[in-house]
Structures are given as structure tokens and as C-alpha cells.
């Protein structure tokens, strides 16, 4: 089997050779540093390569969007990060951004304009749906999901925050997966417990952790795959699954990983 060569061009490289990418892939902190989510970043990059998308990343020039600082109440840190990101993005003349993180997505899309950063921002679920609709990606040469029971956990920052419920589901349906909904889904979807800065602190005193409540609901569907579309949800749901000692029978994947698997990437 010939070894595919995947490219990850940076904006700096592109600019040096006077090229402009179709889209900037905003990797995000989890996608850059979290071992589990790095695999999602890699999967998405492989899909972009396969679909022959002319993309680029910022590499070491990327910073946190500032979302966790802003939600935790620290507007100074948020605006410092946002402003320097906008400087970098504008320096490269970025017009269109895709990101696999709903928190980055929400901040870039909804909160950067007021600070002077105006871009077309897409979440990777929307972008994958477009690639599938345009026929640039189709499930082939890979794992088949036909008849496989998959449940999708809505990310709050994708769903309620930005009214994106269908795009990730379309992607899963395109894989021929048997999509089963949890009791609370779409507008009623239950949070994984990580948003609003919770990812970075211990939860307050309570009866139960939120991710446990949610993983129980996901397991109740009987699905053997839990699909997510957010790095924080991935971490929280994985922790929940470990707590329930179900890591062997149930797997958690980002929708990009599932698309990559279906393509044998």
C-alpha cells in the first residue's frame, strides 16, 4: 500500500510562497495539546488532504481564543488574547476559518467582530457536511458504519449557542450509521459539564458530576459509539465512560474521526 503523504502547511509558509489558502484550520488549544484531541486534529487534517482542500494552520502563531477566560469573568485576559489573534489573522488576510472546537468557533464567529475581527467562521461539522454534499468526501475504502448504533452528544456551544444541530447529524447519516438520540438532545441536550470555565476547576459541591449524568444517558441508548464534536465534551464523556468502566464496549469519537475511519484514513 502506498503511503499517503499528508501536508500541514502553515500560514507563514503560504505567505512566503505568495499563496492564499481556501480556509484556515483553527486548531485550538485542546486540538494542539490534549493527547486525545490531537488525534481529532490529525484526522481532520487527513480529511482536508484527501478532499484536496487548500488549507493552512497558524502553527505556533495561534493562541487561545480567550473563551475560558471570558466565561470565567476575566475580560482582560480574553481581550488581550483576542486582540493579538486578530492582529495575526488580519496580518495574513484570513477570510475563512474552520475549527473543530465549538468554543473557539463561537468566540471567533460571534465575539471577535466587536473587537474588529471579521471572518467567515465554520465549525468542522458544517465544513464536513459541505465537503460531503459537494462530493469531495465520501465514505469509501474504510470501516463501514452501516447498522452501527451511534448516538450524538450535542455540544452546548454548537447547539443552543449557535443553533447548529443538523450538520453533525448529517455527517453521521452520510456514514450510514444508525443514529439513536438520547433522551435529552438538540435544544434539550444536556451539557457535558465543561463549559463556562468548568473544564479548568473542580465542580461545586453536589450529588453527582454532570458528565456522569450525561454518560448514563448516552449509555442508555445502547449505542456502541458516542459521537462528539467538541474537545471538552470528548474529555468529559471519556472520563464518564471510564467511571462507568465501559471503555471496552463503548467508544467515543469525534465526528471527524468517524469520517476519517470511513475513508480508511
Amino acid at each position: 500500500m502506498d503511503q499517503e503523504v499528508y501536508k500541514v502547511p502553515t500560514m507563514a509558509e503560504m505567505a512566503a510562497s505568495n499563496e492564499t489558502p481556501e480556509v484556515l484550520f483553527w486548531v485550538g488549544c485542546a486540538g494542539s495539546f490534549d493527547d486525545r484531541y490531537k488525534r481529532v486534529t490529525v484526522a481532520f487534517v487527513k480529511i482536508l488532504n484527501k478532499a484536496k482542500v487548500k488549507f493552512a494552520v497558524l502553527g505556533t502563531e495561534e493562541s487561545c481564543t480567550g473563551d475560558p477566560a471570558r466565561r470565567a469573568g476575566n475580560e482582560f485576559t480574553f481581550q488581550m488574547l483576542a486582540m493579538s489573534n486578530i492582529q495575526v489573522l488580519d496580518m495574513y488576510g484570513v477570510k475563512k476559518i474552520v475549527t473543530a472546537c465549538p468554543h473557539c468557533f463561537n468566540t471567533l464567529k460571534n465575539e471577535y467582530p466587536e473587537l474588529g475581527g471579521n471572518y467567515e467562521v465554520l465549525h468542522h461539522s458544517e465544513y464536513l457536511q459541505q465537503l460531503i454534499d459537494e462530493g469531495r468526501v465520501r465514505p469509501e475504502n474504510g470501516e463501514t458504519f452501516k447498522g452501527k448504533k451511534v448516538t450524538f452528544h450535542d455540544s452546548c456551544y454548537l447547539g443552543r449557542a449557535n443553533d447548529i444541530y443538523e450538520a453533525p447529524r448529517h455527517v453521521l447519516e452520510a456514514l450510514d450509521a444508525d443514529l439513536t438520540e438520547m433522551k435529552r438532545s438538540k435544544v434539550k441536550g444536556l451539557c457535558c459539564g465543561a463549559g463556562g470555565g468548568q473544564m479548568f476547576k473542580e465542580p461545586e459541591k453536589g450529588r453527582k458530576d454532570i458528565n456522569i449524568e450525561r454518560i448514563e444517558e448516552a449509555l442508555a441508548t445502547g449505542a456502541d459509539t458516542i459521537a462528539v464534536a467538541c474537545p471538552f465534551c470528548m474529555i468529559m464523556m471519556t472520563d464518564g465512560l471510564k467511571n462507568k468502566e465501559k471503555e471496552d464496549s463503548v467508544k467515543i469519537f469525534d465526528i471527524a474521526e468517524l469520517v476519517a475511519q470511513a475513508n480508511g484514513l
Binding site: V8, V45, Q87, R160, G197, K201, K208
Partner: protein
């Protein structure tokens, strides 16, 4: 005898007019105080896109769209709502009768149509009656979780009682109007000249057997008693609702009209910080005229926007927000409903303070955060927007929580230790975790 009756009639007219004027004054005074306490909030422009706003109001408040997420409850609530709005047309007749000393002033003009009109109102009244009885049973007997004070501490005492008082009020009002009409019909059949012949009405005819064997005089007394009970009840209700959670019947309309049009995920910007950040980044020169705000975020109600405060008065404490809140579901102290109720409680206290001090608020060493809402509550929020999504009148508890957090973190510099670590990482490594920015692109090695 004749003289006594007309004397009595005039006396009734006088009492009625005095009562009407008194109630109008009380309601006006209360409404004015509510308006003034809402306006102690910060300015925020919510007048853009009037077309979109009107459409939202028509859909959500007028059309009760969100209530129909639960079809049965939505239908019952709609019955009470539509009954309340349309029966008010009949109140117009009652008020005119009261002032002019007439009886069923519209009956002669409307002729045969009057029978159908009152019949229609009676059907609505019966709908209200049925729905309120079901609601009262639900609140008291069936134990709907979100109404239980054992589980939700904010429902202890007055809020729980308030919910029941309103329902009993409405049941009494509807029974008064239906039995009044029944007594009226019986009096018509007796040929009492004061009671214009309209014929029996569609619902109240079934109440007529209640009055078999009553003599004419007792019937007249009962009919008058029911008439007074109904109208005095409405007057009392009008005053009561300004103190009650029931204020939503009025404020649902402006509250939905002025609701946010931007995506729920968007947080309000703080422009006062932007200029400072620009100076720090060397993008702008120090503007000597730039005003340092006296406070970052919100410590008390006057630091919130007027819309946050209108939200608080619009809350009817149904608890759909709290029922959907992941923090509350898992036993944390946070309850979005309590955030709204606390904000209103604080506003009511501020209002009383203003009244006692000639219209000016005199600082009372209390604040919304700390004395009403606990830090533990606002820290438990995941900003998931479930509460915002659920609210049938488009209240946004999250907006208040986030402003209180801004105050705690920026003004008091009080954040949990792990958040301070996160901030520090962001400031030095541009990532919330302790990783070197130089390693940010190392993931690409996994792509090979």
C-alpha cells in the same frame, strides 16, 4: 321603598367609583415604582430591528409558542391566557355598569348577539376554571418536582403560597361570574324588571339548579354579591399582581420584544476594557480622557442592564430553567430561577428603599452578589444556555451570572485557585494548560 333602592344604587355607584379610583392609583403607583427600579439598571440599546422584535413578541408572548413545547400544559395555559384577555372585554361592561349604575349596559344595543357574546365569555371562563383547578391540583397534589420547596429552596414560603393564591383567586373570580349569570337568568325568568331579558347563557344555565327555591330578594342579593365579588376580586388582583410573580402576564410582552436577537453564545463586550487592552498592546496611545469605570462587572442590580432587571420582574417562577440546568440537576446550589428571584427580591428592597428616601436609593450595605446570590451558585454555571433556551418569556439568567462573575474575578480578584492558574497560563503560554507555546504545533508530527 323605591327611594331606598335608588339610594342604595347611588351608594353602590359611589363606592364603585371610589374603589376604581383607589385601585387605579395604587396600580399606577406600583407600576411607576417598578418602572423606576428597572431604570436604575444600566443603559443598553434594544431597539434595533423592530420588525424582528415584533415578530418575536407575537410568536413567543402573544402566540405562547414556547408554552406549547409541552402540549397539554401549553393548551391549559393558553385557555387561562385567552380567557384572561377576552374576559377583560366583559370587565369593560362591568366597569361601565358600576360607574353608571346600569345593569348589562351592552345588552340592549347588542340585542340577540349579546347572548352569544356572554356565552362565549362563559365558555372561556369555564376553560379558565378547569385549567386553574388542574393547575392547583398539580401544584398541591401531584408534586411536580420543580415546584417542590423540599427540592428547590427558593420556593420555600411566599413563592409557593403566591402560586396557589393566584390560582385560587382565578377560580373564585370565575365561579363568581358564572353563578352571577345563573342568578341573573333565574331573576329574568321570575320577570324582575331590573334584569333585562337575555335568555339563559351556555354554561351558567347548568348552575341554575343551585338557586331553586331561592326567593327573589335573596337572589338579587346573591347576584349583587357575586357581581361585587367578581369586580372587587379583579381590582384586588390588579394590585396583587404587581407584587406577585403573576406580573408576567403584563411584562411577557415587552420582555420578549426587547429580548436578545444575537446568537445565545455571544457574550456582551466590555468596550471600557478594549481601549485599555489596545494601549497595552501598543495599538493605541493612552487616551487621557478615557474613563476608568467605577466597577467591572455587576455587584448589585444597578450594575446590571435594565433588561436584566425587566427579566427579573417578568419571571413567573415556573422553574423550567432550573429543571434543565445541569448544575441543578446534579445537586449544585445554582438554580437559574433563584438567580431571577433574588434579582427581583433585591429590586423590591431597592424600591422600598427609594420610596422611604424620597425617590433616591440610599446605600444599605447590601449587594446582589453575597447577600442574595452566593458565589458558589455563580461558580457552578457551565454557561450551557439551557436555562435561556427553556424560558417561555425569553429571560436570560446566564447574562446576570456572567456579569456577577466579571465582578468577582476582575473587581474583587476573587477566583478559584485553579482559575487563577488557568488565567496565568493564558497570560504566559496563550493556552489554558501549562504547555509551552513553542510546542503548539507538535501535533503535526502525528500526521505523517
Amino acid at each position: 321603598m323605591q327611594i331606598t333602592i335608588s339610594y342604595m344604587a347611588v351608594l353602590q355607584q359611589v363606592i364603585f367609583i371610589v374603589l376604581l379610583a383607589g385601585v387605579s392609583w395604587l396600580v399606577y403607583r406600583r407600576a411607576n415604582l417598578i418602572r423606576r427600579t428597572i431604570l436604575i439598571g444600566k443603559n443598553e440599546d434594544r431597539t434595533d430591528e423592530p420588525g424582528k422584535r415584533l415578530a418575536t413578541m407575537l410568536r413567543v408572548a402573544f402566540g405562547q409558542k414556547k408554552m406549547f413545547d409541552r402540549p397539554l400544559i401549553g393548551f391549559l395555559h393558553f385557555a387561562v391566557y385567552i380567557g384572561f384577555i377576552l374576559i377583560n372585554i366583559e370587565v369593560l361592561e362591568i366597569v361601565l355598569d358600576g360607574i353608571l349604575g346600569t345593569h348589562r349596559i351592552f345588552a340592549p344595543t347588542l340585542g340577540g348577539f349579546y347572548l352569544y357574546l356572554i356565552g362565549f365569555f362563559e365558555i372561556l371562563a369555564f376553560g379558565v376554571l378547569t385549567a386553574c383547578v388542574i393547575f392547583l391540583i398539580r401544584r398541591s397534589g401531584v408534586k411536580v418536582e420543580r415546584f417542590q420547596p423540599e427540592r428547590h429552596r427558593e420556593m420555600n414560603g411566599w413563592p409557593q403560597l403566591d402560586g396557589k393564591i393566584i390560582l385560587v383567586f382565578e377560580i373564585v373570580l370565575m365561579l363568581a361570574i358564572l353563578t352571577m349569570n345563573a342568578a341573573d337568568s333565574v331573576l329574568q325568568e321570575m320577570g324582575n324588571p331590573h334584569y333585562a331579558q337575555t335568555g339563559s347563557f351556555v354554561i351558567s344555565q347548568f348552575f341554575k339548579p343551585l338557586f331553586t327555591g331561592w326567593n327573589e330578594n335573596t337572589l338579587v342579593i346573591y347576584e349583587r354579591f357575586a357581581w361585587w365579588l367578581h369586580i372587587a376580586g379583579i381590582f384586588a388582583f390588579a394590585v396583587y399582581l404587581t407584587y406577585s410573580k403573576h406580573l408576567h402576564i403584563v411584562l411577557a410582552f415587552p420582555n420578549t420584544y426587547y429580548s436578545r436577537l444575537s446568537p445565545k453564545g455571544k457574550m456582551n463586550n466590555m468596550p471600557e476594557i478594549t481601549s485599555e487592552v489596545k494601549v497595552m498592546l501598543g495599538l493605541e496611545n493612552q487616551n487621557t480622557e478615557s474613563v476608568v469605570p467605577e466597577r467591572f462587572g455587576a455587584k448589585d442590580v444597578m450594575d446590571l442592564s435594565w433588561k436584566n432587571l425587566m427579566d427579573a420582574y417578568s419571571c413567573t417562577e415556573c422553574g423550567r430553567c432550573t429543571e434543565a440546568c445541569p448544575a441543578n440537576i446534579t445537586g449544585k446550589k445554582l438554580s437559574p430561577r433563584k438567580i431571577m428571584m433574588d434579582t427581583r427580591d433585591r429590586l423590591e428592597d431597592v424600591g422600598r428603599n427609594m420610596q422611604a428616601n424620597g425617590g433616591e436609593f440610599v446605600p444599605d450595605n447590601k449587594a446582589l452578589i453575597g447577600d442574595y446570590i452566593l458565589e458558589e451558585e455563580i461558580l457552578a454555571c457551565t454557561t450551557c444556555n439551557a436555562c435561556v433556551q427553556e424560558c417561555p418569556v425569553l429571560i436570560n439568567p446566564l447574562d446576570i451570572i456572567l456579569q456577577l462573575r466579571r465582578y468577582k474575578v476582575m473587581d474583587e480578584a476573587q477566583a478559584p485557585g485553579s482559575w487563577n492558574m488557568m488565567f496565568q497560563n493564558l497570560d504566559t503560554n496563550q493556552a489554558p494548560w501549562k504547555f509551552s507555546p513553542a510546542d503548539r504545533f507538535n501535533w503535526a508530527e502525528g500526521v505523517k
